[in-house]
Each structure stands twice: as structure tokens, then as C-alpha cells.
Point group: C2
Chain length 220, copies 2
């Protein structure tokens, strides 16, 4: 799993090479840690960026939405870029220039393919729900043919991809600026999950494990 991906003109880092990672293990870990992604596609030849959820199965990444969505229709069978970012903190240095951010991000370039077979679509959607909320799918009101038809699932191989990671203290820490008399350091940040809020009319249905454990699973 840790064979590095081939670098390409698009994934090669021009600067700060120590931040670049091309092994599948690092890339997969970031994808699996954050559902939110931003997909770039073209509308009339100009870039558009839409937030959505992604999930990974093996060496492919998936995302979905309404079949009527322009973001999805503009992404089908064409080149897109899917980017996932975890914001880990603000980095405050002694000079403005060295201020930075701690983060983990993955960019995947490729062609998005629309899944046609309804059974495959259902399986992918099930895997998405189950990855976030184990054992939930079979408890749900089953999906109707119309709902599956109204949902587009896109898939893209993780072939041309790279991770970029910054961690640690400000970069001016080791040079002459380190004596400058201003506080420097990191303000860490993390996407934190709060107490589940039951829908109205929940009656006496208890909070299931897959909801109660969610925060622990997502931040492990």
C-alpha cells in the first residue's frame, strides 16, 4: 500500500518539497479522516469549486449528489480536481513572512466517471453510509428506485494524486528572528463534533452507537 504514486507535471511540488507526500498510505489516511472535499470542474470553460462529501474504497474516490446538480453534471466524464483539507492550526511567527498554517491536504486529478448500474450505485452509497455510521444502512427506510435514479454517484481512480502536510512550530524558529520579542507558536484547530441533536418526534428511540461513537471514530 505504500508504493509511491508516480509524480506528474501537475502533482510535482515546485517548492517546499519536504511537505509533499506521494505514498498511498499518507494519501488514504487524509481522505479517510475528512469527508468534506472541494471539487473543481469547468462551467463554460471557467473553473468552479463546490463543497461536497467524498469517500474512498480501495484505490478510488467517490462523491455523489442530485442527478440535477450542475456541479455533478459538469464533472461527469471529464477532468476534475478533488481536494481534501484538514486545517490543523494557525502558525504565528516572529515575522509576517513566516506566518503559516498547519494542515494536511490531498489533491486528486483525474476524470470522473458516472456509475450507471443502479446496484453498483446502491452498493457505493451503502459503503459511504457504513463507513461513517457502521450498521446504519440496514436500519434505514430502504432506498426507492426513484431515489437511486435521482442520485448521481461519481468515481475517480486515485492515480494522479499528492498529499501536502505542514506540522510543527513556525519556520523562523531556528534563524536569527527567534530572538525577536513577540509571542510565536501554533494555535491548533480541529473539526470537533458536538452532542447529537435528535430530530423532532424521535420519541424514545435511543442514540445508537454509530452516532455516540462518531466523534471518537472520526478523530482517531
Amino acid at each position: 500500500m505504500s508504493d509511491p504514486l508516480a509524480d506528474t507535471a501537475r502533482t510535482r511540488l515546485r517548492r517546499l518539497h519536504d511537505r509533499g507526500h506521494f505514498d498511498r498510505e499518507t494519501i488514504y489516511k487524509i481522505l479517510d479522516a475528512m469527508s468534506l472535499c472541494h471539487v473543481g470542474y469547468l462551467v463554460d470553460g471557467k473553473p468552479a469549486v463546490t463543497p461536497t462529501f467524498q469517500w474512498r474504497e480501495g484505490d478510488h474516490v467517490y462523491w455523489h449528489g442530485s442527478s440535477a446538480s450542475r456541479a455533478l453534471r459538469s464533472s461527469e466524464e471529464t477532468d476534475v480536481c478533488l481536494t481534501v483539507t484538514l486545517m490543523d492550526g494557525f502558525v504565528l511567527a516572529r515575522s509576517a513572512f513566516y506566518h503559516s498554517a498547519n494542515f494536511r491536504s490531498v489533491m486528486i486529478y483525474g476524470r470522473a466517471t458516472k456509475i450507471i448500474d443502479p446496484e453498483v450505485k446502491i452498493q457505493r452509497l451503502k459503503n459511504f453510509v457504513e463507513a461513517l455510521f457502521p450498521d446504519r444502512w440496514d436500519q434505514l427506510r430502504p432506498a426507492t428506485t426513484q431515489e437511486i435514479k435521482a442520485t448521481t454517484v461519481l468515481s475517480m481512480p486515485i492515480d494522479e494524486a499528492s498529499a501536502k502536510i505542514r506540522t510543527g512550530p513556525p519556520g523562523d524558529d531556528e534563524d536569527e528572528d527567534s530572538a525577536w520579542p513577540v509571542w510565536a507558536g501554533v494555535i491548533p484547530s480541529v473539526l470537533q463534533f458536538g452532542e447529537p441533536v435528535p430530530a423532532p418526534r424521535m420519541g424514545d428511540i435511543a442514540v445508537p452507537d454509530h452516532v455516540r461513537d462518531f466523534s471518537a471514530r472520526m478523530t482517531k
Copy 2:
């Protein structure tokens, strides 16, 4: 400030119209609440999406980075899309179809312009630092001519923009699915800021107010 922006073919919502917002107040509030953004641009005619920080001054949005950055060089004087997303929670419904996310997002389409005048560049960067960390700029080791030269600042008017917001319980709450016996509700999420981590060799420099108050200011 709350005059609505004109909708265009790109910003008009095709579906779920109640989620769309075109007034500057709503758009500005989201931009001001989240520094992280994702910028979409073209590389050899294909979309790329890079995470970076944005800040707003009046009716313009700004972002910056190394002058050598391909993401910035590919964005100068050409069409880009800048998207900001706050992820507010996972929405769990009784059916897979109604699962959703609570979020606030802004998409801004436009042409990015590079700021040439070094004095204007410095002023913009100062405003960025001061917006996040009041009174910090003047405490920093002053920026050198070389550092300013090595930094590109891009600007874009907030003309063609829209916000999209989803809040509240799952959408199947009011229809017949609401009796289906599975837990439904929202798992809220928020980007949380932790205890500041001082850089090594901080000596007895105290944590300044602009760091201590950061979390309270960002989550207000």
C-alpha cells in the same frame, strides 16, 4: 450593505432555492467567519483546487502566497472561483436519500488581479494579520523588501457571488418517513481552536491577548 447581488447563470441555484442567499451581509459573514478557502483555477486547461487563506476588505476578497506558487501564477489575471465552506454538521435522516450536511458556503466567481504596488501589498497583508490577530503587525519583525517581493497578493471583487446555507433537522422529518424506527438528527461540528502551543525558546514572553482571545473572536 444588504443589497442583493445580481444573480448570473453561474450563481443562480437550479435546485433547493431556499438554500441560496445573495445579500452581501450573509456572504460577508461567512467569509469573515472562516479563513480557509479553496481556489479553483486552470492548469493547461484543466481544473485544479488549492486550499489557502482568504480575507475580505470591503467588497473585495484577497489571498496570497509565494510568488513562485503555481496556484497563484495560474490564478493571476484570469478567471477563478474562490469557495469558503463551514461544515456545521452531519444530518442523519430515516432514509439514505435525506441524509445531508449542515453547512454555510460562499462561491465567488471572478478574475483575480495581482497587486503590484509594494506599499498596497504591505497594507493588505497587514490588514490580513490584524483581522485575525489585532495589534500583532506592529510587534512583528518588519517585512523586508525581498519578502514582499517574494509574496504575491491577489484580489477579486465580490460581484458574482452567492451563499448556500443548510441548517436544521433532517428533511424527512415532516413526511411519512418520520415514523420509521431509526434515530435521526444532527451531529453538529465546528472548527475548534485549542490551547496555544508556544514555539521553542519563547522564554518568558507571555501569550498575548490576540492569541488568548482568538477562539472567542473566531467563533462569535
